[in-house]
């Protein structure tokens, strides 16, 4: 067996309040394709950031060519021949291909003038592009390239740095089938030239087609390792799941009522060629699961009127509602608690009071002037009802913890008349105590007859809080699970685009 060129021993990374990686060991042998899989939040990205020198591990050793390092710098990582092809490509669209490949390491001419040797760089890039089978020239502007072509630029860049390990983080997530096949061919070619590839993906078929070995991460630990002969879909999925889910579930007080919000054949900006249909009944919490990028946020944005509706309709209790902007949605009682509360949910520099009344300000005004007293009264009521912990209602939202900020966003909508509330990752970045409070509030709302759609990438949350789960995969609803079918296995299968097997239990 070849000497591993890269080895991780006992890598642990602790963030305040959460352990992202726990005693992870991993080795990479020259010329092998190592598949790395795991759910959202399993620790893949943190692991890759450690390899790239962006994040320092809390404990453990990184062994490169026999030398031990406690942590890597970005320079050391590059020097050791570790290169990345990122999920969101890090290219300069306004520069040409050659300039991107040599960014930060430009060939200079002109002596003291230190001019960039554009012509020379292009000549040096050409053979790399040829080797990858690229159909574009070195002087093409990156903005004119497709995503697949941009990936080739990243790979060419890695090759130009004489990379020995190329880490590809979900490289195929936005590629067509033929582009994916071409990428898999490139991977095989890299392998033949002795370059190792760490291939992170959610698409198990690609792993099965290309990987020599698979490492499965779960909750920051290595859940298992499969040799080439052992790689099979079912085995991989079983390794990815199987943690103890705490029971968070509080059943509804009464069965969900008739009526609610029907999303019929809606076309979203993220997947303009797909139609989404979904129904949320009054009084239920419908979980919307799926992998990151499955189109869930885009669906929420379209229903709420942030994105233009490209087709299909939204019905409320059977009656179609026309939503051209968030104002229309709000008028119909359709509210959104957005994914990024700091960017879209709150005006951070405004006090709690003004954030709570912002969406319904005319109600607090007489003769166009805001009556602070009634504003303050409502803010106090809502703060007490939601248990917002702050020195006063005049505290700026920026000074609050994540959980309290989220409660302020919620208070804004609860002070009005909600009929449908969409929560997009409602507890992301929130500590455990506040999480449970938010779940209780959601259940309380549902019991009052509000229809709740909860988008979540947190498996524990989806399974623990929802009454039903809809699973989305690449812009489509791939399945709807009733409570008795809830299992991590079933959700994950559907999230990866595979058919639901009702009889199977995990």
């Amino acid at each position: 067996m070849l000497e591993p060129l890269l080895e991780l021993v006992g890598i642990t990374k602790v963030y305040p309040g959460v352990t992202a990686l726990d005693d992870v060991s991993l080795r990479v042998i020259p010329g092998e394709v190592l598949g790395l899989i795991g759910e959202n939040g399993a620790g893949k990205s943190t692991l890759m950031k450690i390899l790239g020198g962006v994040v320092s591990p809390s404990a453990g050793t990184i062994r490169l060519d026999g030398h031990d390092h406690a942590t890597l710098t970005v320079g050391e990582a590059i020097g050791a021949g570790i290169a990345f092809v990122h999920q969101e490509l890090n290219l300069f669209e306004n520069l040409d291909v050659a300039a991107n490949v040599f960014i930060g390491r430009e060939t200079l001419v002109g002596g003291p003038l230190r001019l960039v040797d554009n012509a020379g760089q292009r000549v040096r890039v050409a053979p790399l592009l040829e080797r990858l089978g690229a159909d574009f020239a070195p002087d093409t502007l990156v903005e004119e390239l497709s995503i697949a072509q941009r990936q080739m630029v990243e790979i060419a860049k890695a090759l130009s740095m004489e990379a020995r390990v190329i880490i590809m983080d979900e490289p195929t997530s936005s590629l067509t089938i033929s582009e994916t096949e071409r990428l898999l061919r490139i991977i095989a070619d890299l392998k033949a030239h002795g370059v190792a590839v760490i291939f992170i993906t959610h698409r198990l078929g690609e792993i099965a087609a290309s990987a020599d070995r698979v490492v499965v991460l779960r909750d920051g630990r290595v859940a298992g390792e499969l040799a080439r002969a052992e790689i099979a879909h079912a085995t991989m999925i079983r390794l990815m799941i199987g943690r103890d889910l705490k029971s968070l579930y509080v059943p509804p007080r009464s069965a969900s009522r008739e009526g609610g919000c029907d999303i019929a054949d809606l076309v979203t900006a993220a997947f303009p060629d797909r139609h989404v249909s979904l129904s949320v009944r009054h009084g239920e919490i419908l979980g919307l699961a799926g992998l990151v990028g499955a189109g869930r946020t885009s669906l929420a944005r379209t229903v709420f009127g942030i994105d233009r509706n490209r087709g299909g309709e939204v019905r409320l209790d059977g009656a179609p509602v026309v939503v051209r902007d968030p104002r229309d949605a709000i008028r119909h009682g359709i509210y959104l608690v957005p994914e990024d509360r700091k960017k879209s949910g709150l005006v951070l520099e405004l006090p709690i009071r003004e954030n709570i009344t912002l969406a319904d300000l005319p109600r607090y005004a007489r003769m166009l002037l805001v009556r602070r007293r009634s504003e303050a009264a409502v803010s106090r009521t809502q703060s007490a009802r939601l248990g917002i912990k702050a020195p006063s209602i005049d505290t700026e939202a920026v000074a609050l913890s994540g959980g309290n900020q989220q409660k302020v966003v919620l208070a804004k909508w609860l002070a009005m008349r909600p009929r449908v509330v969409i929560f997009d990752e409602p507890t992301r970045g929130i500590d455990v105590g506040a999480k449970n409070e938010i779940y209780a509030l959601m259940r309380g709302l549902a019991d009052q007859g509000v229809a709740i759609l909860m988008i979540s990438s947190d498996m524990e949350e989806v399974i623990g809080v929802s009454d039903r789960i809809a699973v989305m995969h690449e812009g489509r609803i791939t399945g709807m699970l009733a409570r008795e079918d809830f299992s991590e296995y079933n959700v994950l299968r559907l999230a990866m685009g595979q058919a639901h097997e009702p009889a199977e239990a995990a």
Partner: protein, 336 residues
């Protein structure tokens, strides 16, 4: 209010020192003369302030004065319009120009700097072409005598322009700090996306600020025309947009948007006029006028920034201490 208080103290200190060196500064004649100038410059500075609070900028007001000014004089003298009609026409002209700029910025997503810079060039050029670069003035007739008295007269010795500014500032202060529109203006200036997610029609709010700025530019045109009594289209109102921006920034508006107050803008205008006056009174070469203004704004904004940074630091450590007992996931460090 802390910012405004600081500015007020600065104003009093500067005034006091200047008065101590040369008592002429505090003479009634000089003070009333300054009051008149503060009134003239304050009106359009308030409009500029609103635009800056939305995170935008209006570079076109100075050229609007020239274009609307020559039109105003022609309406009164050449076309013999009754003054109320001419006044309304000029204000409406400002509203229309502001609305066009606001529409370009909000609907067609053009940058405020570019749109209003083009406005500055176009209006000035239009005014010069329309008059073939000749100065427009009133004849020996008594056109619009009533309006002239209103615009450039005095009440108990106090210039009407100053009185008008005080009334306007009160009305706009209430509007900005108490009304629904005012709240929206700050919310949009601070975080347009969150405002949109709260159902606010952010385009209307932003465009509204440009319309108000245009309307106030229309009113200012009339006040300025009666102050100078003639309009030379190539120089009338030159650089006045920069005075307005300077006053707003000095008064606590941030060019990033979402910050500033009416009282602050008025104080900023006053401080600028005091500085100009002080250059004259203290015998500083008047060529240094702009240099003095620039230095004071630079120092003022720098001091304010340092002060705020220190306050934020204090607030941050305070918040961290409060949050100590609970383990908190730092934002941006969510699980992947």
């Amino acid at each position: 209010m802390r910012k405004e208080l600081g500015l007020l103290i600065l104003l009093i200190v500067v005034g006091g020192i200047t008065g101590a060196i040369n008592p002429t500064f505090l003479s009634a004649v000089n003070l009333l003369n300054m009051a008149n100038l503060i009134g003239l410059f304050g009106v359009f500075s308030l409009g500029e302030g609103l635009v800056i609070i939305t995170g935008g900028i209006d570079l076109s007001v100075g050229s609007m004065f020239a274009l609307l000014g020559v039109v105003f004089i022609d309406l009164l003298t050449l076309h013999q319009w009754p003054w109320p009609l001419a006044l309304l026409a000029v204000i409406a002209g400002g509203v229309v120009l502001g609305a066009i700029q606001g529409t370009l910025i909000t609907r067609l997503k053009m940058q405020p700097f570019v749109v209003t810079l083009c406005g500055l060039l176009i209006y000035r050029g239009a005014a010069r072409y329309y008059t073939t670069d000749s100065t427009r003035g009133f004849g020996y007739g008594d056109e619009a005598d009533q309006l002239r008295t209103l615009a450039s007269g005095h009440l108990y010795g106090v210039p009407n322009t100053f009185i008008f500014l005080v009334i306007l500032a009160i009305v706009m202060g209430v509007a900005l700090h108490r009304s629904v529109y005012g709240r929206y203006l700050y919310a949009v200036g601070k975080n347009e996306e969150a405002a949109r997610y709260s159902g606010i029609r952010t385009s209307l709010v932003v465009a509204g600020a440009y319309v108000i700025s245009g309307a106030l530019a229309g009113i200012s045109t009339v006040l300025l025309v009666f102050y100078t009594d003639s309009v030379s289209p190539s120089s009338f109102g030159n650089f006045y947009e920069l005075y307005a921006i300077a006053a707003a920034v000095l008064g606590g508006c941030s060019l990033r948007g979402g910050e500033g107050s009416i009282f602050g803008i008025v104080l900023g205008t006053a401080l600028l006029q005091v500085l100009q006056n002080l250059v004259n009174i203290l015998g500083i070469p008047s060529s240094l006028n702009f240099a003095v203004m620039g230095s004071v704004i630079l120092i003022g904004v720098l001091a304010d920034q340092q002060f705020q940074a220190r306050r934020r630091m204090a607030a941050a450590t305070g918040a961290a201490r409060r949050a100590m007992p609970v383990p908190i996931l730092r934002s941006g460090e969510q699980k992947t």
